[in-house]
């Protein structure tokens, strides 16, 4: 069989392939220009950040040997040969870790409650007044753009050292982040039930309670759990600025070169974060599974 693809006449083919080549050349040129601009910006940034490749090469060995050192006990043996010696402070560390988790729980809950109260005013479809929406949105934006550790630094001065400052910092940041996510959930809700409830003469609060809330509650729970997960990580470093939790122990261990303590605390933090990730993931799957079945 010789019935192949029909070949276009030379003139037509020439014009077409010319156009194709032109298009490809234009794309390549644009790509090359973008790459060049990007590289220039990178070089400028490297100068600005005092990047010194020689330092890196000289000290990169230190980075590797740092991990070697933190995995060694004072006696010179590897840490996993003597768990009792490695985790000598487990009693204290576990308590601090518990404090960290508790702080992130309390902070997340406070943040979620505030976000819950505020988000109906921030969402486009449920906000009763325009100016209120504008103010609430700006407030939430502010709360979520300022990093929580900056709030913690300021709160440590206002409220004194201790986990309270960390909790409040986490709460404010969570309010901002959750407020935005919650209001997005509300904006995606179906407005027909609201009309239905409104047509019975219900007030704004009843509309929110009986028409919007049943639609969005699962989304809220899911976002709040996700935020809790993030906050556990954040709370683990709040101690760096004196706001309580395991971070305090860690920063002391790192600064004073208690090598095996550093690895022990890091292992505890990573394991805790793992466990929390897995359990909140399981919980979220269950919540959503329940929603899907109903």
């Amino acid at each position: 069989m010789t019935a192949g693809v029909p070949i276009l006449p030379q003139a037509q083919l020439g014009a077409l392939s010319e156009a194709y080549r032109g298009a490809v050349a234009r794309r390549r040129l644009r790509f090359a220009i973008a790459t060049a601009v990007f590289l220039i910006v990178l070089v400028v940034a490297a100068v600005g950040a005092e990047v010194n490749l020689r330092t890196l090469f000289t000290y990169f060995g230190n980075f590797v040997s740092y991990f070697d050192r933190i995995l060694k006990l004072d006696s010179g043996a590897r840490v996993w040969t003597d768990f009792g010696e490695w985790f000598w402070g487990w009693h204290k560390w576990l308590r601090m870790l518990g404090e960290t988790i508790l702080a992130s729980y309390v902070g997340t809950l406070i943040g979620a409650v505030w976000a819950f109260v505020l988000n109906f005013f921030a969402a486009e479809n449920t906000s009763p007044v325009q100016w209120l929406r504008f103010i609430v949105r700006r407030l939430l934006e502010f709360a979520r753009t300022v990093p929580s550790i900056v709030f913690a630094l300021i709160f440590v001065i206002a409220f004194g050292l201790g986990p309270m400052a960390g909790v409040l910092a986490i709460a404010i940041h969570s309010t901002g982040a959750l407020g935005k996510q919650f209001s997005e959930v509300v904006e995606n809700a179906d407005m027909k039930p609201v009309e239905g409830v409104q047509s019975t003469g219900a007030s704004w609060i009843s509309c929110m309670r009986f028409a919007v809330l049943p639609q969005v509650i699962a989304g809220y729970a899911s976002y709040a759990l996700l935020r809790f997960e993030i906050n556990v990580r954040e709370a683990s470093v709040m101690g760096f600025v004196g706001a309580g939790g395991i971070g305090q122990e860690l920063v002391v261990a790192i600064r004073k070169f208690y090598y095996s303590d550093v690895s022990a605390i890091l292992v505890m933090i990573v394991v805790t974060v793992f466990c929390i990730d897995i359990s909140t993931g399981w919980l979220r799957a269950r919540l959503f599974g329940k929603e899907a079945r109903a």
């Binding site: 729980y105 900056v150 920063v251 790192i254």
Partner: protein
């Protein structure tokens, strides 16, 4: 007016048993969970040293601090702050780029459709997970021990912690790619590397570029905070001014951070649209 028919209550009751007589366990589940959550909350408040007196005096202090912050005023150190801000932006940009460059090859190892055997994939994934479990600030402290104080430690800290996040995100993007184009390359006799270069990369590159831009944006925020432990940038100035209670400078620095973050947001969303196209984002 015709009356609506009287509903046959008994029949409806029998038909929707679940709605009328929910078992006690289902009815009590929600209040029990709320009670439990509330209980843990109250215990937490007590354990973490919350007290109304402390809260009130703290709020009083906070009110004072807020008043002292007004109006924001950099004093005579504006050039210093602008330089620090530039340093922060450099840290974010360099850190993210480094992370992306290193994460791309590793993410191939973690993607199911590239490396079908779990023996390689599983350890790579766990490795990435454990790096991700450690916060950027901790990495910053470790790098300060290695390369000394300064922005370079910040760049490396962001690079390491983003490396893990990118590894995961990129491998997910690769797993989500369409297999048909890869099969096409294979059918025309391409090697495994050809499959990746011509079948996968064109599909995943826009997704990856979008994610990298998004991370540059969020790293501007992270870069401000790693300065607090001494890794350079505007966070260093901020922490210093908070410690010496120069509140007007503090508020000015916070304002600078907010404006810079908003500007980067704007630029990167513009670039994202340009790369992926408006449709793909919506």
């Amino acid at each position: 007016m015709s009356q609506s028919p009287v509903p046959d209550r008994e029949r409806i009751r029998a038909q929707y048993r679940d709605a009328f007589d929910r078992p006690a366990s289902a009815r009590l589940a929600t209040p029990a969970m709320m009670l439990l959550a509330g209980g843990v909350f109250v215990f937490g408040l007590a354990d973490l040293g919350f007290s109304p007196a402390r809260l009130l005096s703290g709020l009083h202090q906070l009110g004072w601090i807020t008043l002292m912050m007004l109006p924001p005023d950099p004093g005579s150190s504006l050039p210093l702050y602008l330089k620090a801000l530039g340093e922060t932006l450099s840290i974010a940009l360099l850190g993210t780029t480094l992370a992306a460059a290193f994460a791309l090859p590793v993410s191939l190892l973690a993607a199911r459709n590239i490396v079908p055997s779990g023996i390689v994939r599983f350890p790579v994934r766990r490795f990435l997970d454990s790096i991700r479990g450690v916060d950027t600030l901790i990495w910053a402290l470790v790098w300060i021990n290695v390369v000394g104080l300064g922005p370079f430690a910040g760049v490396l800290a962001i690079a390491v912690s983003d490396f893990a996040a990118f590894g995961k995100l990129f491998s997910e993007a690769i797993e989500g790619a369409d297999q048909k184009q890869v099969e096409g390359i294979r059918a025309s006799g391409g090697t495994a590397l050809h499959e990746i270069r011509f079948g996968l990369i064109p599909q995943v590159l826009p997704v990856i570029a979008g994610q990298v831009l998004y991370f540059i944006e969020s790293n501007t925020r992270s870069a401000t905070i790693i300065g607090i432990v001494g890794a350079g940038g505007i966070g260093l100035q901020l922490a210093e001014q908070i410690r010496v209670l120069e509140w007007q400078k503090v508020s000015f620095l916070i304002l600078m951070i907010l404006i810079a973050v908003a500007a980067i947001d704007w630029i990167s969303s513009r670039l994202r649209f340009a790369i992926i196209g408006r449709r793909a984002v919506a």
